[in-house]
């Protein structure tokens, strides 16, 4: 929110000084114009909105209770009553997939928020202060980047135990290194700009310069990397749950469903297919959205 306030206040500042027709958000307006031209990206944006609505209104949309077992009716074939059939406990697969969207999106949002916060703080500090601070922070980034993503997350889940909050933490504390690196290199370029010197000359504190100048100027990068990282977080959650180290049962998660389905490949092969398609659509939508945002926000790549 602070980032948006910084942008907003700048507009107000222009108004106060009496300069009109200067639109400091024009970058974002231009970007939106470019973005709208990308039809496939618009479809993906709509898909994400739809998915979010499905996740929020899951109790009203799902045809059945995702936890209600009906052992007499296990591995039911798709029918009007159970559009995708039932699982090994006779639970409705469609309802479980709908509820699974909640876990995936929550992980995408919360875990990514943790990763972005750490990444931005470390990246801005390293790039802005430079020197010893940069050396130390860069080595810390490298240390965390050296751990295999999945193995580290597995180890953290092992220590903390199953549960969605722990999944947020496990993914958040390992997922920030890429963000920190990118932001650091951007801030390195930004800090020699005239307006930074001007701000310093005007007596702005380092903290203020970072908050009001560095972060708003990195905002488009932050938006793009966040969007492009959400799918990998969703994928990682699915993988953890697939390995039995993600959300705690009976919470339904797409990865956990595939893991269960794996045991019953011979009885009900389609059972393992549906959650995978759900993951694919979600990840594809976020990836495409991220690509389109990058093309729209980063004019250097505009003509590619």
């Amino acid at each position: 929110m602070k980032m948006w306030n910084a942008l907003f206040n700048r507009n107000k500042l222009y108004e106060e000084v009496g300069i009109e027709n200067i639109d400091s958000t024009s970058l974002y307006k231009d970007a939106w114009k470019r973005f709208k031209k990308n039809k496939f990206a618009m479809v993906c944006l709509a898909a994400i909105v739809l998915l979010a609505l499905v996740a929020i209104f899951a109790p009203w949309i799902a045809p059945h209770d995702p936890y209600k077992q009906d052992v007499l009716n296990k591995f039911a074939e798709p029918s009007l009553l159970h559009p995708l059939g039932t699982d090994n406990y006779g639970r409705d697969i469609l309802s479980r997939i709908i509820y699974g969207a909640r876990v995936s999106l929550a992980v995408g949002i919360v875990a990514e928020a943790i990763a972005v916060t750490i990444g931005v703080i470390v990246g801005v500090a390293a790039g802005y202060y430079g020197g010893k601070v940069d050396t130390v922070l860069s080595r810390i980034i490298e240390v965390f980047a050296s751990f295999p993503f999945i193995l580290f997350a597995i180890a953290v889940m092992f220590i903390l135990g199953q549960g969605i909050i722990n999944v947020f933490i496990a993914i958040g504390v390992i997922g920030w290194t890429g963000h920190a690196r990118l932001i650091r290199s951007q801030v390195l370029q930004l800090r020699s700009k005239e307006y930074v010197e001007a701000a310093k000359a005007a007596g702005s504190s380092n903290f203020r310069i970072m908050l009001k100048h560095m972060i708003p100027n990195c905002l488009s990068t932050i938006i793009v990397i966040t969007t492009l990282d959400i799918p990998s977080d969703i994928m990682l959650e699915a993988t953890l749950s697939f390995l039995g180290l993600g959300v705690a049962p009976p919470t339904s998660s797409w990865g956990e469903m595939i893991s269960v389905a794996r045991t019953f490949l011979r009885q009900q092969p389609m059972f393992s297919i549906y959650p995978g398609i759900a993951i694919m659509i979600t990840v594809l939508a976020f990836n495409t959205l991220g690509d389109a945002l990058r093309d729209a926000l980063d004019p250097k790549l505009k003509n590619m």
């Binding site: 751990f147 180890a155 995978g276």
Partner: protein, 306 residues
């Protein structure tokens, strides 16, 4: 180059020390006494004490850490609580399986990625480009473990062409290789396409074409060489992702590599084995990063200066 080499080497050493510190701390905040896990509930306090002494767990943490690092550098990671075999021996046998699978999956993904990416760039905007890029995007968006399961259903259970678990002969490698390689082939193809497109629009390519050099020579000699830099960087990331992905694939196809060892160890709380796998894969990643950076310096001399 020599200066750059030593600077990078020094950094890698510092990172390696950081890795040991994080691994050690990570595994020492585990709730519950590891000794209690190993012994049954009726063990006498004396037996617990003896075991703690035997494992060096009665010493202060900094001493334990230093012992851990010294032992790790000597290749001694202790013995598995359950298998009673040295962790190092388990790791080495697992590593060879993982590297073999990862190696062929990497070659598979790199070949497909470079060929498809280049074709896509050369036929930019045409139908072939569209189709290849959609397939690449689908590959990236599918979880590795799901692709593996679908392959098992189609080629293992229905068609019965390939075995669905274990590696007895070469045919056992096919499904894991395809499952593991397809995701990374997708991201490779996309990056190759972008880098080739970037290189293709450079002035020296126009010059070469206007000299009358044939298109194939232009692409191979002028475009590919300049597109190689981002590709080498991605290869580093790629190898790491493939090794990580291999851990999941090993579990699905019952291949006894590092991943299966690590995941089994986690299920039974075998701490020395977990510690060993985390530490050694991280160390391997530090080495891969170092090699990629040094290669980068060889290919692009501009890197050494900064």
């Amino acid at each position: 180059m020599v200066k750059y080499f030593f600077k990078r080497l020094g950094q890698a050493l510092i990172v390696l020390i950081g890795v040991t510190l994080v691994t050690f701390l990570l595994l020492n905040v585990i709730p519950g006494d590891p000794v209690a896990v190993m012994l049954d509930k009726n063990a006498t306090p004396q037996a617990v004490e003896n075991l703690r002494h035997e494992w060096g767990l009665d010493k202060p943490l900094p001493v334990q850490y230093i012992n851990f690092v010294l032992n790790a550098f000597r290749g001694n990671l202790g013995t598995s609580y359950f298998e009673k075999t040295p962790v190092m021996a388990m790791l080495l046998s697992g590593l060879s399986a993982t590297l073999r699978l990862g190696g062929i999956a990497f070659i598979f993904s790199a070949l497909i990625g470079v060929v498809c990416g280049t074709l896509s760039a050369v036929f930019r905007g045409k139908l072939l480009d569209r189709v290849l890029m959609i397939i690449a995007m689908l590959g990236i968006s599918l979880p590795v473990f799901w692709i593996a399961i679908v392959l098992q259903i189609i080629f293992g259970l229905k068609l019965r062409w390939f075995p669905i678990s274990g590696i007895k002969d070469l045919s056992g490698y096919i499904l894991p290789m395809v499952a593991l390689g397809s995701t990374y082939a997708g991201s490779m193809a996309r990056l190759v396409r972008t880098s080739v497109l970037e290189a293709i629009s450079q002035d020296y390519v126009k010059t070469a074409r206007s000299k009358g050099v044939s298109e194939a020579v232009v692409i191979i000699k002028h475009v590919m060489r300049n597109a190689a830099i981002p590709i080498v960087t991605l290869s580093g990331t790629q190898i790491k992702s493939i090794l990580t992905g291999s851990m999941i694939i090993e579990t699905i196809f019952s291949i006894s590599g590092i991943g299966k060892i690590a995941i089994n160890a986690i299920m039974v709380r075998d701490i020395p084995v977990i510690q060993g796998t985390v530490l050694y894969t991280a160390a391997l990643f530090v080495v891969i990063n170092l090699v990629v950076d040094l290669l980068y310096g060889v290919i692009d001399p501009r890197v050494r200066v900064s």
